[in-house]
């Protein structure tokens, strides 16, 4: 049924010679679309990206609400909250949550935010939306696979959501789900059916991610418009390319880890189980290695961090440049540093495992490789700083979030130098220092990249602006609030306070932080309500936002702004514009404008990059 809507971009052809015919046909097809094919089973990359985004927003709210619930427990361990009973039912009888559901919430919060929001919702949304528009293509290489990618994602989400409502509760072994805890249903309630659903959901998510990733790579490499050489691509596209490469190479390893875990759970194999005595009996399994799972998990798990960060970095680069009215500084250095990050991302996974008892010599090698990754990250930070240096900064909402992104990336990135050094990790591992580090750097900072992207490209998505005032309120509360929540956690970590504890009252070493935990919980709730303001702004602005009058509201250079305000399926009405210059020509065009879009031909003697 999708064929009528399809514009045949999935047929093999070189990227520009058919462009003209498609342009003629697409308007004609547009009218025939049924609601289902246009908005639900759509093959238009722009609709699919909005589906990814709205699904991501749903999961961000759900995951955020979970964090509010477990923060209530952490901040006010001796109080009861009737609202908990409303949401969690018997899991929180009398308004006091059970440890089982506490761990379930922590686990699902981590899983959905890492995978569904910051992978599906971030890379899924913006790779889909921006790749065809910024490289000058009518759609993805395979719009059909692209549609499947979303629907696998959606089904994965439905399964994860269902797992919240089963009798034994959702998976509760932490988002890393280390066996044997996750392999043995006797070990915890969440390791029953909830864990199976978790694994199935993740397997489907991986399928979605692979379908999407392959599509992004093929589209970027093959379908660029005339003149759009690789060295003229906006950094967003480079970032999406490396993100997809990372995903395609590492997600299959997680899939294999999940499949082996399913075998251990149901087929009596011993991949991860050895010499376990549980629930009063000794299991027959001997010879497996629980550490094997950790190697497989982190072989994805670490690149996953960059799958989350790279799109945020790419979008921040684009946004900082556009709103400072200056070219991005060190375009090639930015690409090289992304290549460095991509390669190193595969070589650092065991820094999550310094204290598993692995060979200290091997640990030493991973220390070296881990700290190496700080170099490309530092290069990027200095390049961003130089980009805004002597610019002409417009403090639009996306720009504020872009600046916030850099600030948080610095703060969170630097603490990585503590954790990456095994001599410090031996104490800081699995404490609140880790929580503070990764929430700031790949949680909040990636979210800031995503918010910057949403505020920046919302006008392209919906032909309307989001409300600025609400945007600024959202920015300031979130930015300050994030520091208030996560900064003090470093200190708790330095004191050795372990993560994933349901309460600390019985611990002589950690109970002095009760007051602080309360303050953090209150800040977390305030920040959560600021996110609701964002969601409110997002949905109201779709219908009520200020209308766009100029197709290029930010005076940006990249190609997406040459498309009509409401691009149809096929993106450009006529021919796809030809590209003549790089994406960052923010300079005097001779007519009083401070930018020269990519499709403007070179003036005599000008260098097109």
């Amino acid at each position: 049924m999708g064929n009528a809507a399809s514009i045949h971009t999935h047929e093999v052809h070189t990227h520009h010679d058919h462009a003209h015919d498609h342009g003629d046909h697409h308007a004609h097809h547009e009218h025939k679309q049924h609601f289902l094919t246009k908005y639900v089973f759509s093959q238009d990359h722009k609709i699919i990206s909005r589906q990814f985004l709205i699904t991501g927003i749903f999961w961000a709210l759900a995951g955020g609400l979970m964090s509010v619930f477990f923060r209530l427990q952490l901040g006010f361990p001796s109080d009861t909250f009737p609202i908990l009973e409303k949401f969690l039912g018997d899991w929180a009888r009398g308004g006091k949550m059970d440890p089982e559901i506490y761990y379930g919430l922590v686990t699902i919060h981590g899983t959905v935010l890492v995978f569904f929001v910051l992978t599906g919702g971030l890379s899924g949304t913006f790779s889909n939306f921006l790749i065809p528009l910024q490289i000058g293509a009518r759609d993805m290489a395979s719009p059909f696979l692209n549609m499947l990618s979303y629907w696998f994602f959606a089904v994965a989400g439905v399964i994860m959501f269902c797992s919240l409502y089963i009798n034994t509760g959702p998976a509760s072994g932490g988002w890393t789900t280390y066996p044997p805890l996750s392999a043995l249903k006797e070990a915890s309630m969440g390791s029953g059916l909830g864990m199976d659903l978790w694994l199935i959901s993740m397997a489907l998510f991986i399928v979605s991610s692979l379908l999407g990733g392959l599509n992004y790579i093929v589209t970027i490499l093959n379908m660029r418009t005339k003149g759009m050489s690789m060295k003229r691509l906006p950094l967003t596209i480079w970032a999406f390319l490396f993100t997809a490469v990372l995903g395609v190479l590492s997600f299959p390893v997680l899939l294999s880890a999940a499949v082996l875990l399913l075998f251990d759970r149901h087929a009596g194999t011993s991949f991860y189980i050895s010499e376990v005595f549980i629930a009063g009996k000794a299991l027959p399994n001997i010879g497996g290695s629980a550490i094997l799972y950790q190697h497989l998990f982190w072989f994805l798990g670490h690149p996953e961090v960059y799958i989350i960060m790279l799109p945020a970095m790419g979008m921040a680069s684009e946004i900082l440049s556009t709103h400072s009215r200056k070219p991005i500084f060190g375009y090639f250095a930015m690409i090289l540093s992304m290549i460095g990050i991509t390669v190193l991302a595969f070589l650092v996974w065991a820094h999550h495992m310094f204290v598993t008892g692995m060979s200290p010599f091997l640990g030493g090698i991973f220390v070296l490789l881990t700290l190496l990754i700080a170099i490309p990250s530092a290069v990027k930070v200095f390049n961003w700083l130089t980009t805004i240096w002597r610019g002409n900064i417009r403090f639009t909402v996306p720009m504020c979030f872009g600046l916030g992104f850099v600030s948080l990336f610095i703060s969170g990135g630097l603490t990585g130098l503590f954790l990456g050094n095994s001599a410090l990790d031996i104490h800081l591992h699995d404490t609140y220092f880790v929580i503070a580090h990764f929430h700031i750097v790949m949680g909040i900072s990636a979210f800031f990249g995503m918010f910057a992207g949403i505020y920046h490209w919302f006008p392209k998505m919906y032909g309307r602006f989001m409300n600025n005032t609400m945007g600024y309120i959202h920015f300031f509360i979130t930015f300050i609030g994030s520091y208030v929540i996560f900064w003090p956690m470093h200190y708790e970590g330095i004191a050795g306070m372990p993560r994933r504890y349901y309460e600390y009252g019985a611990w002589e070493s950690f109970k002095q932080f009760a007051e602080l935990n309360q303050m953090i919980s209150i800040a977390a709730i305030v920040v959560f309500f600021a996110q609701i303001l964002f969601v409110f702004n997002y949905f109201v602005s779709i219908w009520k936002g200020k209308k766009l009058t100029d197709p290029n509201p930010w005076n940006a250079n990249s190609l997406e702004w040459t498309a009509p305000i409401h691009p149809g399926h096929g993106n450009w009405d006529g021919e796809i514009p030809e590209v003549h210059r790089w994406a960052y020509d923010y300079k005097d065009d001779g007519n009083g404008n401070d930018f020269i879009p990519q499709h403007i031909p070179l003036r005599p003697g000008e260098d097109g990059h």
């Binding site: 409303k86 440890p99 805890l181 070990a187 189980i273 050895s274 010499e275 376990v276 549980i278 001997i286 010879g287 290695s289 629980a290 550490i291 009215r325 200056k326 500084f329 250095a333 204290v355 598993t356 008892g357 070296l368 700080a374 530092a378 200095f382 700083l385 130089t386 805004i388 002597r390 610019g391 600046l403 850099v406 600030s407 610095i410 130098l417 050094n421 001599a423 410090l424 699995d430 600025n468 005032t469 300031f476 300050i480 003090p488 200190y491 004191a495 050795g496 306070m497 372990p498 994933r500 309460e503 019985a506 611990w507 002589e508 070493s509 602080l516 609701i532 200020k546 923010y586 005097d588």
Partner: protein, 352 residues
């Protein structure tokens, strides 16, 4: 009812915010977009500096508030090298942090939009790129070198004559075992485990087990100034021996034996005086998510003088005697030094 009122109040706040936001759009139209934008841009540029100042003041107060709450005295030799390593890293990252955060907000403020200034078209400079590739590279080399030096010191094999204590995790408590008079930990097999009379699955055929002391609640006694090696295992899922005051940590993995060693340098009583907290106690926390009772998986470590330790040890009865009241305690005489060598071989759980 109060829940409903709170909901209404929150809803009202959103409506008010929405109305304010809408009206600001209206004001913009009345004043003229350009004038309005210019004014707002100026306010926001200033607010960047305000935000920066707020962050710095916030960090300062946070530091002042937190430091008295943290026990900064490391209680082991490795803890001391951890602290010095931490300080080196803190100074290096701290400098970068202060400079980059300042530049970020300062540039944002300084280079706010102005009609008179032309932006500086500055797209690349190999020299600058080289500088900020090489400087971090050198800094990283220093951190790696210093870090690995302490790392290898911490993870070297335990010194000769180190006391050995086995620490085994189970859902949800710790079990500790001392080698007894012969200085040897006997072999064990997980298939022998019984919650009634053989918590660790000791092989009773192994004579080395007959004098082993087992402490079911995981309490550990250590001697000040005497190196101790923890032989770490788990009965069921992965746990982690977290020794926050000694700045050490090691996973307890079923099927695998892991080890750490350190030398306690401050007795519990001395630490109570130093921290002015009479309730101070060294705690062993589980630092790896292990299930429902993870947060309560606690054991106590008591660091004391050799004399106190000996007095405590003399009161302990071998686990074999406890579980086999009919058997007479028959302990073969071997020198502890000889025995320590054998222990290593015998510790795999499969050993029959």
């Amino acid at each position: 009812m109060s829940g409903f009122l709170i909901l209404c109040l929150i809803g009202l706040i959103y409506v008010v915010l929405y109305q304010i936001s809408r009206s600001s759009e209206m004001v913009a139209t009345i004043q003229g977009e350009e004038v309005f934008d210019k004014k707002r841009n100026k306010i926001l540029a200033w607010s960047m500096m305000v935000v920066w100042a707020a962050l710095m003041i916030g960090f300062y107060y946070c530091h002042q508030y937190m430091m008295p709450k943290i026990n900064l005295i490391p209680a082991s030799d490795h803890g001391e090298s951890y602290e010095s390593m931490f300080l080196v890293t803190l100074i290096m990252t701290g400098i970068v942090f202060l400079i980059t955060q300042f530049l970020l907000f300062w540039f944002a403020y300084k280079y706010r939009k102005s009609d008179t200034r032309k932006t500086h078209y500055f797209a690349h400079s190999n020299k600058l790129e080289m500088i900020w590739t090489i400087v971090p590279a050198v800094a990283m080399a220093v951190l790696v070198a210093v870090g690995l030096k302490s790392w290898f010191k911490m993870t070297d094999p335990a010194p000769q004559g180190a006391m050995q204590v086995e620490v085994v995790g189970k859902q949800f408590n710790w079990i500790s075992r001392y080698p007894g008079k012969d200085g040897k930990l006997g072999s064990r097999n997980y298939k022998n485990i019984s919650d009634q009379d053989n918590l660790l699955g000791l092989n009773w055929n192994d004579k080395d087990n007959k004098d082993d002391i087992l402490i079911p609640n995981g309490e550990i006694h250590l001697v000040k100034g005497k190196p101790v090696e923890f032989i770490i295992g788990s009965r069921d899922v992965i746990h982690d021996v977290g020794l926050s005051h000694f700045r050490m940590k090691m996973d307890a993995v079923p099927g695998i034996t892991s080890r750490i060693w350190f030398t306690p340098t401050i007795t519990t009583r001395e630490m109570q005086e130093k921290t002015k907290n009479p309730n101070f106690v060294y705690e062993l926390s589980c630092d790896q998510m292990c299930g429902k009772g993870h947060y309560a998986m606690r054991a106590i470590i008591i660091v004391e003088t050799q004399a106190e330790f000996d007095a405590w040890m003399a009161k302990q009865q071998p686990y074999y005697v406890q579980t086999h009241p009919e058997a007479a305690p028959a302990v073969p005489a071997t020198t502890p030094a000889e025995a320590a060598k054998d222990t290593v071989k015998k510790l795999t759980m499969n050993n029959n």
